[in-house]
């Protein structure tokens, strides 16, 4: 233990603690811009400097470790002067179109400037004039707003191990860019969107589809169908000012109807469908000696990552489309038929916590209905803004159900939104498929929680089924390297690109706070417990879609509409 004084207050902390974290223990927040909990500190912004008695210069409190007897001042005139001037310099370089910036409600630079009392920008001169990077169908980067904090670089490199963005050039030409400045759309970006969450300013955002969706809603010729991802019920409220984790499934359906969507369904329905197909596939692989472990395929961030970095594992990956794409294909076939609507008139919209889904809808193979299966993807943030724009008082809306045909869902589907959920849902159904009996202990605790890699063993009729769950691509790599080396003990692996799973998707309310992601997950588990059906195979709408249309899991129609194949992609 080390004892030091911070602003005259004594504090004793573990050796190796940073000054910034030690200060928290005496209730002092040291302002910062590039430091972010969960990422390695790099001290680019120089905002967190503090005065240490006996040292000639300010020290970076995010990286400087405490030492015995150290005397720290976090709020001296010298410290305040330095912080202010640094923020002033950043603003002088910044493309300050705050009123129209996506992030003006969540901008850390704006907040810092206000809190530090920056009242004037005394430096005048050139502003940046870079081109936007709009090469990706999912993510737009605006280097003009970048403060070069390096958080996106760190999350991409350290957490996701994708490493497609980095610093290029030097001096005042320094910028964050991709290999050869090719643009995000032309490198190995997985579109997971974690960079959006860590960016303190408006330099990275999703490619918006709001205007296109407004246009479709206004077009009387069009019939607009909407699906909402499992985790939306646990995060949309948060983006609209309700406490984190408020369950808003009913209000969400009501809001979507008021926005003018013609038919409100649920991605949860197709999540149940995914389970029917994927659990059947697993049972088939186990019984017939197919390639194992089977790896889930519902996360398009992970799929792109796999196609670039682990194409040799294509045979391991389930051929099931993601729930979003299963829904899309059925919305223009099954639903069109049932409702007697010309599929050419149907516009299929999905509300997703995810930026990678924007990429997924544009894959050429995602058109098995004869049309692009899903037309537009809106993120949590985009839908919330539409609701605000329409002046809908979300908190006061009544709870309304989705329409039954493709809107009824089980608790197994709801938990798709948090890491481990797909695994748990699949095991509930796979058990039934193999044994003919229902799994009694339906809550599979070992695959819950926020540990990076979780494992469990389930006895299924004498066979010990070994499973693993990884979230965040850095964790995924560890599990995948075992598979690649032929040393994987597992039968079934769930992988989600985003830390926390879809609860932490790139389209969610801004923030890299794992605890918050966990709270969203708790909401999903709570809904699971209170739903009338908790197993995908019990969902009456699922039984109906097989009876009336698909016939059987892995059947011919399923094969055509619900399954897909993968492509090896280059790594530069």
């Amino acid at each position: 233990m080390v004892t030091l004084t911070i602003n005259g207050k004594q504090v004793t902390v573990l050796e190796g603690t940073s000054i910034m974290n030690a200060a928290k223990q005496v209730h002092i927040n040291i302002p910062h811009l590039c430091y972010l909990e969960g990422l390695e500190p790099e001290y680019h912004c120089r905002v967190c400097g503090v005065e240490i008695e006996g040292e000639p210069r300010l020290a970076p409190s995010c990286v400087r470790q405490v030492s015995e007897g150290m005397k720290v001042q976090t709020n001296s005139a010298r410290v305040r002067r330095a912080r202010r001037m640094i923020v002033e310099l950043l603003l002088a370089d910044h493309y300050t179109d705050c009123p129209t910036c996506e992030r003006n409600q969540t901008c850390e630079l704006l907040k810092l400037a206000f809190e530090l009392g920056v009242k004037e920008i005394r430096f005048e001169g050139e502003k940046p004039h870079y081109e936007l990077d709009e090469t990706s169908p999912a993510i737009i980067r605006d280097p003009n707003k970048c403060v070069l904090c390096g958080r996106c670089v760190r999350v991409c490199h350290d957490v996701q191990t994708v490493s497609v963005i980095g610093f290029v050039n030097r001096g005042l030409e320094t910028m964050v860019s991709t290999f050869m400045e090719n643009g995000l759309g032309n490198v190995e970006c997985t579109n997971c969107g974690q960079c959006i969450h860590v960016c303190p300013v408006g330099a990275i955002k999703e490619k918006s589809a709001v205007d296109e969706v407004w246009a479709a809603l206004a077009d009387l010729e069009k019939h607009v169908v909407v699906q909402e991802a499992p985790v939306m019920r646990a995060s949309l409220g948060e983006e609209l000012g309700l406490p984190a984790g408020t369950l808003v499934a009913g209000k969400m359906h009501a809001a979507l109807r008021r926005l003018g969507f013609d038919t409100v369904f649920e991605t949860n329905f197709s999540a149940d469908l995914t389970i029917m197909e994927e659990a059947s596939e697993l049972v088939k692989r186990v019984k017939e000696g197919g390639v194992l472990p089977q790896i889930t395929s519902c996360c398009p961030g992970w799929i792109t990552f796999m196609e670039h970095f682990y194409p040799d594992l294509i045979p391991n990956v389930s051929t099931c489309k993601s729930p979003q794409q299963m829904f899309g294909a059925l919305s223009k076939t099954y639903y069109a038929e049932k409702a007697g609507i010309d599929p050419a008139r149907i516009v299929s919209v999905s509300i997703m916590p995810c930026t990678a889904k924007k990429f997924e809808t544009q894959r050429p193979e995602m058109a098995d209905s004869g049309f692009q299966d899903v037309d537009y993807v809106l993120t949590t943030r985009e839908l919330a803004r539409m609701i605000k724009e329409a002046g809908i008082d979300f908190a006061s809306l009544p709870d309304e159900p989705a329409e039954e045909l493709m809107g009824l869902y089980s608790g197994a589907a709801t938990i798709f939104g948090i890491t481990g959920g797909v695994m748990e849902a699949a095991l509930r159904t796979a058990y039934k498929l193999v044994t003919g009996k229902e799994l009694e202990k339906i809550d599979i605790e070992p695959v819950r929680g926020l540990d990076g890699i979780k494992t469990a063993t389930l006895n299924v009729d004498g066979l010990e089924v070994e499973v693993a769950v990884a979230h965040g691509l850095g964790n995924a790599r560890k599990v995948l390297d075992e598979v690649r080396a032929g040393k994987s003990p597992y039968h079934f692996i769930e992988i989600m690109a985003c830390p926390g799973g879809c609860a932490g998707g790139g389209g969610q309310p801004i923030g890299f706070d794992m605890a918050l992601r966990g709270i969203r997950g708790q909401t999903l588990y709570a809904e699971d417990r209170q739903l009338p059906y908790r197993r995908s195979h019990d969902n009456p709408s699922i039984k109906k879609v097989y009876e009336d249309y698909l016939k059987e899991p892995l059947g011919e129609k399923s094969h055509h509409l619900l399954h897909t194949k993968y492509t090896k992609r280059e790594v530069v």
């Binding site: 912004c45 120089r46 990286v63 050139e126 070069l148 610093f167 001096g171």
Partner: protein
């Protein structure tokens, strides 16, 4: 004074090992290998030698810190990046006496317990690189590099790295990043390279000139060396004299001669009227006083720093604003771009100085630049940003009227 660093310069084929051996070369290595490493370090400490790369850190202490670390392996890296404008001293040794450097580097490796040494040479130094490469080959052939050197049981080899044109890669932590194949950006210290350097292992980084003092210290003893020149920071110094002098060049002189002596006795006087000088290159503050002694302490007391000893003389015909602007163009281009304060500070200072140069300055921008200089000193991560405003700030302090004349009316 008898030449120590440049004693072989001018001899025909001075870069050849035979010529070097003929002048008593590699005798210091032989002697050092007969001593205990800690006694080698003790001798260096006794000499009071401090680093000539800019920071003037005691070399003996640096070696001791590196030796004391328990992590293995250890490395010694010679900084031959020589990128500071007005600095051109290390190349004299690299070109004319590469074996002096190699001998010193091997002794350093022995002292700290490293079996691998590196020389990081400025990429544009094509001839120097070739010369050092040849010298390394010769030393290997003669058994001064390789396994079991001179039967001592000590093994050591040297590897060359070439810089790619970034000034900041001369900063020791950026240099190590660059050697590792990373972006050349300085790291936060602590930890210092002595604790965590190349590949995270203890590494002593020493300037070329610094190292080249070692063989003489081994032969004659630290005591002897400490009596040369200024008692505070003793030894010979390679002064790089440039700017408005009649005879610019590299001069080996005892530490602590005055600026006047250097310019008048060796540089054959100022071209025109003396206005000011930068004693330590573009990172240092201007001196207007010719009687300052050019050793680390005296220059610091006079409000500047000796740095690597790049003395740039400026005459009365020169606009001090142009001088400041020139330095700022350099720093704005060469900042690694990592620290907000350095990247943005140097670019804004460059813009302000350009406006002043064109007669479009604002009066309040003078104090703004002084404040910026203080904040950059306080918060920038490495010496580049910390010192980038020195020339400008001292220009404002010494020649404020000149700036005021350029304020937009």
């Amino acid at each position: 004074m008898e030449k120590i660093l440049t004693k072989n310069v001018g001899k025909p084929n001075s870069q050849d090992i035979e010529v070097y051996l003929g002048g008593g070369g590699y005798k210091a290595l032989e002697k050092a290998l007969g001593m205990k490493p800690k006694d080698v370090i003790a001798e260096v400490k006794k000499s009071k030698l401090v680093g000539r790369g800019g920071a003037a850190f005691p070399t003996g202490l640096k070696w001791e810190f590196t030796r004391r670390e328990s992590a293995e392996p250890k490395f010694i890296a010679c900084n031959a990046d020589e990128g500071e404008p007005g600095t051109f001293k290390d190349r004299v040794i690299l070109l004319n006496d590469p074996h002096l450097l190699l001998e010193a580097l091997i002794i350093g490796g022995y002292a700290i317990g490293a079996s691998k040494g590196f020389i990081y040479i400025r990429g544009e130094y094509y001839r120097e690189i070739e010369t050092v490469e040849k010298a390394v080959e010769q030393a290997r052939t003669k058994g001064y590099l390789g396994d079991n050197i001179l039967g001592s049981g000590f093994s050591f080899d040297v590897q060359l790295y070439k810089g790619a044109g970034a000034y900041v890669c001369g900063e020791e932590t950026a240099l190590l990043e660059s050697m590792e194949g990373n972006r050349g950006c300085p790291d936060c210290r602590p930890p210092f390279p002595a604790e965590s350097g190349f590949l995270g292992k203890p590494t002593a980084v020493n300037n070329v000139e610094t190292l080249c003092n070692i063989p003489a210290i081994m032969i004659n003893g630290g005591e002897w060396y400490s009596r040369i020149g200024s008692p505070d920071s003793p030894g010979p110094k390679l002064y790089c004299l440039s700017g408005h002098v009649n005879k610019p060049g590299v001069y080996e002189l005892p530490m602590g001669i005055t600026l006047r002596e250097l310019i008048e006795n060796h540089g054959e006087g100022v071209k025109g009227e003396f206005k000011a000088a930068l004693p330590g290159g573009v990172s240092s503050c201007l001196l207007a006083n010719l009687d300052v002694k050019l050793d680390y302490k005296s220059v610091a007391r006079a409000g500047s720093m000796l740095g690597s000893g790049a003395v740039i003389v400026i005459n009365e015909d020169t606009s001090i604003i142009d001088v400041a602007k020139n330095t700022m163009e350099f720093f704005a281009r060469e900042s690694c771009g990592k620290c907000s304060v350095c990247r943005e500070g140097t670019r804004r200072a460059r813009e302000i100085l350009t406006r002043f140069a064109n007669g479009g300055g604002k009066a309040k921008e003078l104090d703004l630049m002084l404040e910026l200089g203080e904040v950059m000193y306080d918060t920038a991560c490495c010496g580049l940003g910390q010192a980038a405003m020195n020339t400008t700030a001292s220009a404002i302090r010494l020649f404020r009227e000149e700036f005021e004349q350029k304020v937009r009316k």
